[in-house]
Amino acid sequence: MFKGMPKAFWIGLGLIYGWAGFFMILEWTIPSFPLYRFLGVPACWIYNCLLACFVINIFVAWFFAYSEEIREQKLAEQKKG
């Protein structure tokens, strides 16, 4: 199952689910964790709204696309050679 799936996929999933899982567990164990201050604002605006909802996902999608373009480039060079 999932034979041939690029390693980048599993790295990306690890980042997405690791990030969400880690912060959800902190929220379930530390009272008022979302309101801890970070960079001058309540931390949830940074780790959830900005990073989990936006930046990390853009990075992972870019990483997937970029790593595949590198693989295709290598493949094309091999075929030429």
């Binding site: 979302p34 959830n48 709204c49 853009i58 997937f64 595949e68």
Partner: protein
């Protein structure tokens, strides 16, 4: 209260732009490939923006702010979960599907499982869910016009259906793609402008946070860590996890987004279009979090209806709007975006929000209509029942099917039966449970079998839809586990646990049944996966 001229001007400008796209792309839909999959010529940005606009339903834009203020902070994870599901599609389905390059959503099922009847099997939940989505989208479009432009509901439904029909009729997938891409940009810009105005209004994110807490002391209370939680649905971790995952895999597997991977100009464009979809859709979701967090306090502090006619809180304002506009199909939450914007008292902002509301509703209606007309016209009439009509006159068939889909949906939108609305609520879950395992494991597991695909589609359609409706009627909400003890309910949003169970069922039945032919595995599994360079 009449409509503001600036708002009317903004709506007219929007309709003119959408109709113009249909008119100018009519010559681009010259043959069947153009009409079905936009000639496979769409670049990453246009395809990505269209992906985002198609994927998000009107309930997202119109109702999400209300869900954020009612369920409060833990619901933020729902929005993060939806966007986090988008990158997963890049390698899981977008690249393999574009490499395989089908015309219709059902092509892969028929080819991979080696029978034309698989088209019929996967079409049934798709058609039922698809019609429900088109109806809801037309209702959402009409709602925007009734609430803001102050035209009658009937006129609004006819206008919404007519505009969607016109641009699909002229330009097929080409017009749908370009208009949807524009709609994606409009809805995101509208949301970000509103979010920016709100942040400025409260003097920054800290001010906004304090305002939210002042209006609801439980707003940031999460399960287990706090003695009280923000909402009963967030009383246990299953509520947060369930809401994170319920819409998470839709982007990679739902028919109306998967078909957009076919329209990309090549595999590279299909992958990059996902990144653009996240930029457009993710930005909108960040804006929605800001808007939703401010919703309660903003409406209660500034809405013109507060304090009148005995209205004491934000829910009272929404309930009053629902009563005033008397659209039986709409829930109170559907008025939240308009109520927030009315509280800000800026007509130019309302013009953007109206355009955003129309955009998100019409793009979903158009996306589903394209899925339905190809499934009904090309796949069922032509491929399953053997008529030569779709091969001989493909564009004529598509245009007639577009009329049929829009006409039936428009008619049902005038006074939707309650069951249609109930079905639409469960449609997302049912379609994913029924069709996603056969798609994802069909690509990535050689051992996936025809029998497993049939069993999963039939069994999961029944159990997921049945349990959703049972919870809806007996537990009074689809978000409680359907067999919960009424005195001690367990939150399982939209019965999300059926999704992993569907994959498990598919695996078990595949292992118990006859493997597919080697040629099928080679062509529809191995050949569409990434080719690795030699070490």
């Amino acid at each position: 209260m009449g409509a503001d001229p600036i708002v009317i001007f903004g709506a007219c400008l929007y309709f003119a732009a959408i109709i113009a796209i249909g008119w100018f792309t009519r010559t681009a839909a010259a043959d069947a490939t153009d009409f079905y999959v936009a000639g496979r010529k769409i670049g990453p940005f246009i395809n990505g923006s269209a992906l985002a606009a198609t994927y998000f339903s009107p309930a997202t834009f119109l109702g999400m702010p209300a869900f954020i203020f009612m369920i409060s902070y833990p619901f933020w994870w729902t929005l993060s979960g939806i966007i986090a599901g988008m990158p997963v599609a890049t390698l899981l389905t977008a690249a393999p599907m574009r490499k395989y390059a089908p015309t219709s959503f059902t092509d892969y099922y028929a080819d991979r499982y080696d029978t034309k009847w698989m088209r019929l099997a996967c079409s049934i939940p798709t058609i039922i869910g698809g019609f429900a989505y088109v109806i809801l989208s037309i209702v959402g479009t009409a709602l925007s016009m009734v609430a803001i432009l102050k035209v009658s509901y009937l006129v609004s439904v006819i206008l919404a259906a007519a505009v969607v029909f016109i641009y699909i009729f002229w330009g097929g997938m080409v017009a749908t793609t370009f208009s949807t891409a524009l709609q994606g940009v409009i809805m995101t810009v509208a949301t970000l402008i509103a979010a920016g105005v709100i942040i400025a209004h409260y003097g920054g994110l800290t001010g906004l946070t304090d305002a939210a807490i002042s209006s609801n002391a439980l707003y940031f209370m999460t399960p287990h860590a706090n003695p009280k939680t923000s909402h009963p649905l967030m009383g246990m971790w299953t509520g947060m996890v369930g809401f994170y995952f319920i819409w998470h895999y839709g982007f990679a597997t739902m028919p109306y987004t998967v078909v957009r991977f076919f329209t990309a100009q090549d595999i590279k464009a299909a992958r990059r279009s996902v990144t653009w979809a996240i930029i457009v859709g993710g930005a909108m979701y960040v804006g929605l979090i800001v808007i939703g967090t401010s919703a309660k306090v903003l409406i209660e502090q500034s809405h013109p209806l507060m304090g009148t006619e005995g209205i004491k809180n934000a829910v009272g304002v929404l309930a009053h709007m629902k009563k005033t506009y008397a659209i039986g199909t709409a829930s109170v939450t559907d008025y939240s975006m308009f109520a927030i914007t009315e509280s800000l008292k800026m007509p130019w902002l309302m013009a953007w929000i109206v355009a955003g509301g129309l955009s998100i509703a019409m793009s979903t209606a158009a996306g589903w209509t394209m899925v339905l007309n190809v499934v009904l016209g090309r796949d069922l009439i032509g491929k399953v029942f053997g008529s030569k009509w779709p091969d001989e006159k493909p564009i004529q068939v598509m245009r007639i099917m577009t009329f049929v889909v829009i006409f039936i949906s428009g008619l049902l939108s005038i006074d939707p039966p309650a069951l249609v609305l109930d079905i639409s609520g469960s449609a997302f879950l049912v379609i994913i449970c029924a069709t996603a395992p056969a798609l994802v494991l069909g690509i990535w597991w050689d051992r996936s079998t025809k029998a497993a695909a049939y069993v999963t589609i039939i069994v999961m359609s029944i159990v997921s839809g049945g349990s959703w409706l049972y919870a809806f009627y007996v537990q009074k909400s689809p978000h409680w586990f359907f067999l919960s003890d009424p005195a001690n309910k367990i939150p399982t949003p939209h019965q999300f646990y059926w999704i992993p169970i569907a994959f498990l069922l598919f695996i078990v039945v595949s292992l118990m049944t006859k493997p597919p032919r080697k040629e099928v595995i080679q062509k529809y599994c191995l050949d569409i996966r990434p080719e690795q360079p030699k070490k």
